[in-house]
Symmetry: C2
Subunit: 671 residues, 2 copies
């Protein structure tokens, strides 16, 4: 963590000094804002945390609820999300309080007595070392809390405006703020919400029927009758969930499955003799199937009890499934084991289908003509999928991560407006792939009961698809921010368009062994990694030529690394590096005091030599391979450019400063 | 982290629910308290955090300053302290923001030109794997902040009462609260303190002279003239630093060195071409010597510029050493390198001698007769030593850790009053050893300049003494809470009287690989580890006999693990353990809902098999040795009893429940 560079920071260094719009931020919504985010779920809160790094931008986030989410909804956190949390500064803290999945157990009917289950298989959760981060389970509410903290502690000091409902929006030709938004007081109060929660989670049969299910198409809350009010925005982002009013106001729809699939989902404190009650389990029995997800804190567990496809003429009947029925069903499935529910933290009948919007922005007008997008949707507002693969919250956050820096870059004049069109282009494909995958997985899980003779089919799929499951399959196509693969061979282990996969290196100045990628903070900056050639000659030429080029894209009055954070990875042992001979581009003097930044000079090192105390590593890391070996980086050197959202933008020869400039000219404006 | 066991916790699980005295805690000091802590330095704040776990005890902590410490004083954090932070729940967070020492550089005069320095040696900081935790550098202010958070988030909700000064105390024969304490408003204000700090750290020559040095004998602050007030306490703990008024009121003195040693200490933001400016360095040159400690945040560094022995007739002259002189001297020492100071965060002339009090409590009366101790001193109030070994803050915290649970246990009726006499008995010896060590180290550092022909002497001493340096040499003598070594051979790697040294194990219920010792929270509970025999027969006998015995020492209305947290380490592979067959003592049902605690059943595992993701391990851990091998635990099983302050109390045969009961009878009262 770097701080003190503008003078001594006495308190918590995670709290950045307020700047710009963060200084004396008005309590009430202003009449005009740069960005209006609708909805404080995972997509919206990540966006708020990201935009909090842009204090010259006025961002507000409105939320219909009266306050923070307290319980329920999603809980599966892929390693890709934990990487993202690391960039926002809270990976370690949330990991500490989360449940960590290391192993999955599969249970099925016994051959001799199909009414009784037994364990058929155990698999490692991440046998291939997809990431150095873990696969976690923790309530969505806590994820939102951490993003809320990041948003509040960023220089723009963003906090949600609770109790405000988005009603509609329309575009006009206002010269600066063309989106006219209608909002109103949502009428929500904490008391009502608490009462609804208590009712939904109480063990009384009547109460359970009240369990709301916001993911379904039917409106679950009463519309407010408060008077409406209008505000203007440059950009609006609808992160308002599956029944998105922003999407509706754009005239778009979720298309896909006609029928929904339903689960009885309960977060419960139990006493059970089922031995794997603290393990992730897929349980199939004659009585049905359960996905069991142990939860944070050592006692809580979530049971997804499969309620099957919802008939098209169901008319909400499935939603009245009583929690007692769900518990009874769980007991039947678990036989010979029993489950005594001591307390219900949350209960919901979760009905969801595979549905997708064909476009995530308003970049076409009513007549079908292309235009500059001003309104976006993200997360469940544009795609929904089954709970089985635990993707919902994760993909929604990545939507937000993809869009956040783009809005920041355009609004601060760092990038051309055209950048914003890449959001829908990039993320719609991801959502489509996800839905295809999820369908396959769901049908496999459904098929299983009938096919117990090959218990490996499902586990094989599960393991093969781990890269997908953990959020690392995404690969963006060439565009203004993603280069072509011409020079990919120079760094084959950093595929262009995929997320930059970290690896241990030695930080020269303080001999700390660190994950190179963990220095990538969600601060809107690009990262340029110069992998040195063995002789250092090409590196010297790069160090000579690059400052001139990069400074063209960097505002004159800001630090030289304000837009591009340039780091070098040398081939020498860290002990042999003479810091005095390292070119100044890698030891820039920044901040108001012009102090040297020593955290840009790294040396390749084999993990075995990271003594004392190597950083956390992915499973199966070759202890003898340094980053050049492990990521197939040419010993003649290479440049790896990484986008602010951690995706590899380009791979180029170390000497190709001209080509770099050409590429940047498309995506970054002159400073 | 365990939570949710009394029902769902929606917010930050680190914030424990308020209980007892923590509910509606009065803002003003009450007239009577159970424990009055004087001083909110490291010793006092650890005590506050510890006693916050005892909500039936009324604890207050008074502090002369107007608010939190902002900057300065100590910054070296030994691995033993980080272990302690782990027990208080903030090791990971503070590690994240701290500087981490991996290597120490030694610099000396060049042979060809003694006016110029060169690097003579580099040594690993912890080559022997003394702990799985790191050696950190972070400002004392942040350490205090974290303890303040722990104190505030504990059930007793303890917060310092700032601006109150301890004046004196006297014992009388009040039946319950025999310590009558005189206090007053200290008159301190934030404005004054900020002005003093600004003056002390400004670069102006006049200002620098104002640098206060609280560690010296001369009073640095004006005595308040506010009217005094009296309150009564059952116990008083003086954590009020080197010039302790509590010590004075007990009629005790620090004895030792006549002369002090002085350093110009500056926390500075610099630009320098000295290549090791981000490494811990011991620098010797013809112009003097510097101990350079890089600091948190990547830019700050502390320079200890040696000002030598202070003449006995110095009369405070050394204290007027100007910061410009100190900077000039640093430049002379660093030649041919230069140091440009851009900003001074803190500057002090730190004068200190090796001094020690012969007793840390008032357990003798004026006539020399033994009595029950009621007033204690801890930290700098009873021992001071040079800054070179970076021990001050660390040893002070361990004083607090030793005393805290004893006060808690006596005040809650868990242990006999006699327990309190063990505090002075145990800690005075530690302080004496420390001072002996520190003298040796200091004289070696002083000698070095003349003896450059053997640059290894100092580094050898440094490495040999690492166990001491990191805080792990402490070994308490047999007493009512520390057993004799009769059965030590059953677990030779857990020496009785030393801190329990953690090791990786597999938690059976969720297949998480964890450090066994990290489950030890600073919650005042004893830990009893049952290392199973291979056949499990002795374990079965233990599991049969132990509940009866342990319940005798456990209050009937509390959880069965409220006093003793009993865990088992099995020899089987975790996959082979049948949780259904594990005796109930290791799967107790606790909390208001009677939920099963699954985090007490462990299996031995070789670190190599901890896949995916092994826990952090000490350097040099044998990847093939499980905990039985690594800690030389008998394969016939053993019991290891650990005190609430993490020191091994006893090692016994697995079958020796009778001997266990006998031992406990001396230290724990019937429940
Ligand atoms: C009841 C429920 C149960 C779920 N259960 C599971 C599960 O068991 N497993 C799983 O993996 N996933 C589950 N999900 C899905 C998962 O929570 C989502 O995929 C994820 O939250 C999507 O994030 P998001 O930010 O896109 O939207 P959401 O988290 O849905 O956030 C949308 C936010 O917008 C607010 N909002 C909506 N309309 C307006 C408006 N007009 N004005 C202002 N604010 C508005 C909402 O109050 C909400 O806070 C569940 C979702 C819901 C709603
Ligand atoms: C100015 C200074 C510089 C230091 N520099 C270094 C260094 O460079 N390196 C190093 O390793 N160590 C240094 N130390 C030592 C290190 O800080 C101590 O070893 C450590 O703080 C001891 O902790 P403690 O809790 O015993 O006492 P302290 O941290 O000294 O805390 C004592 C507290 O008691 C308060 N107090 C004192 N008298 C009263 C009273 N009558 N009533 C109420 N409150 C009172 C004080 O305000 C203070 O907050 C320094 C200490 C000081 C004071």
């Amino acid at each position: 963590m770097q701080f003190h560079h503008d003078g001594y920071v006495s308190g918590d260094p995670r709290i950045q000094p307020a700047q710009g719009t963060g200084v004396n931020r008005p309590e009430d919504l202003p009449d005009e804002v740069d960005v209006l985010i609708v909805g404080s779920g995972p997509a919206g809160m990540l966006l708020a945390a990201q935009l909090s790094q842009y204090p010259s931008v006025t961002t507000r986030i409105i939320e219909r609820r009266a306050g923070r989410l307290k319980v329920g909804q999603a809980d599966g956190i892929q390693a890709r999300s934990v990487e993202t949390f690391q960039a926002f500064g809270f990976a370690e803290r949330i990991t500490q309080e989360a449940y960590r999945i290391t192993s999955t157990s599969f249970w099925g009917p016994r051959d001799d007595d199909p009414a009784q289950i037994h364990r058929t298989k155990r698999t490692d959760d991440d046998p291939n070392g997809i990431s150095e981060f873990e696969h976690l389970i923790v309530n969505q509410a806590r994820v939102l809390d951490y993003f809320a903290e990041a948003a509040l502690h960023g220089p723009a000091r963003i906090e949600p405006d609770f109790g405000i409902e988005f009603v509609s929006q329309q575009r006009d030709d206002h010269p600066t703020h063309p989106v006219l938004v209608t909002i109103r007081d949502s009428g929500a109060t904490r008391e009502q919400e608490d009462a609804a929660l208590a009712a939904a989670t109480g063990l009384g049969a009547e109460a359970a029927r009240l369990a709301v299910n916001e993911a379904t198409a039917a409106p679950a809350t009463q519309a407010s009758e408060a008077p409406t009010q209008q505000i203007r925005a440059k950009y609006v982002v609808g992160c308002d969930g599956a029944r998105s009013a922003v999407r509706r106001s754009m005239g778009r729809q979720l298309l896909g499955d006609q029928a929904f699939h339903a689960w009885g989902v309960m977060d419960v404190l139990t006493v059970s003799d089922f031995p794997d009650v603290r393990m992730k389990c897929a349980i199939q029995s004659a009585a049905g199937s359960i996905l069991l997800i142990p939860r944070e804190g050592g006692h809580l567990a979530r049971f997804y009890v499969d309620l099957g496809e919802v008939a098209t003429d169901d008319a909400g009947k499935v939603r009245t499934t009583d929690i007692h029925d769900t518990i009874a069903r769980a007991n039947a499935i678990l036989s010979p084991y029993t489950l005594e529910v001591k307390d219900v933290a949350w209960y919901s009948v979760y009905e969801v289908g595979h549905r997708l919007c064909d476009r995530f922005d308003d970049g076409v007008d009513a007549a079908g003509g292309e235009r500059e997008p001003r309104v976006f949707i993200a997360g469940d507002a544009c795609h929904t999928h089954s709970a089985k693969a635990g993707q919902g919250m994760n993909v929604s956050m990545q939507d937000g991560f993809n869009l956040g820096w783009k809005l920041g870059a355009v609004l601060t004049g760092q990038s051309p407006d055209a950048l914003l069109a890449t959001y829908s282009a990039e993320r719609q494909v991801v959502a489509q792939n996800l839905i295809d995958y999820d369908k396959q997985w769901s049908s496999l899980m459904a098929k299983k009961t009938a096919e117990l003779t090959d218990p490996d089919e499902m586990t094989r799929f599960y393991v093969d698809q781990a890269e997908f499951l953990y959020g690392f399959r995404t690969q963006y196509e060439p565009s203004m921010i993603t280069g072509s693969a011409t020079h990919q061979a120079l760094a084959a282990g950093f595929p262009i368009g995929k997320r930059f996969k970290s690896y241990p290196v030695a930080r020269v100045a303080d001999a700390n062994f660190v994950q190179l990628g963990h220095h990538h903070r969600a601060d809107g900056r690009w990262r340029l990694y110069a992998f040195a050639d063995a002789s250092g000659e090409a590196l010297a030429r790069f160090a000579e030529a690059a400052p001139v080029v990069l400074s063209r894209f960097t505002p004159a009055d800001s630090d030289e690394d304000a837009v591009f954070d340039v780091k070098v990875v040398l081939q020498d042992a860290w002990q042999d590096v003479d810091l005095g001979a390292v070119p100044p581009i890698f030891l820039p003097r920044t901040g108001s005091l012009g102090l040297v930044d020593y955290e840009k000079v790294y040396a390749a090192i084999a993990p075995r030599d990271c003594q004392p105390a190597a950083p956390k590593m992915a499973v199966g890391t070759d202890m003898d391979a340094d980053i050049f070996d492990a990521r197939s980086v040419s010993r003649d050197g290479a440049l790896v450019l990484v986008r602010p959202d951690m995706y590899v933008a380009h791979v180029l020869p170390l000497d190709a400063v001209g080509e770099l400039e050409e590429f940047l000219t498309g995506s970054v404006l002159p400073g």
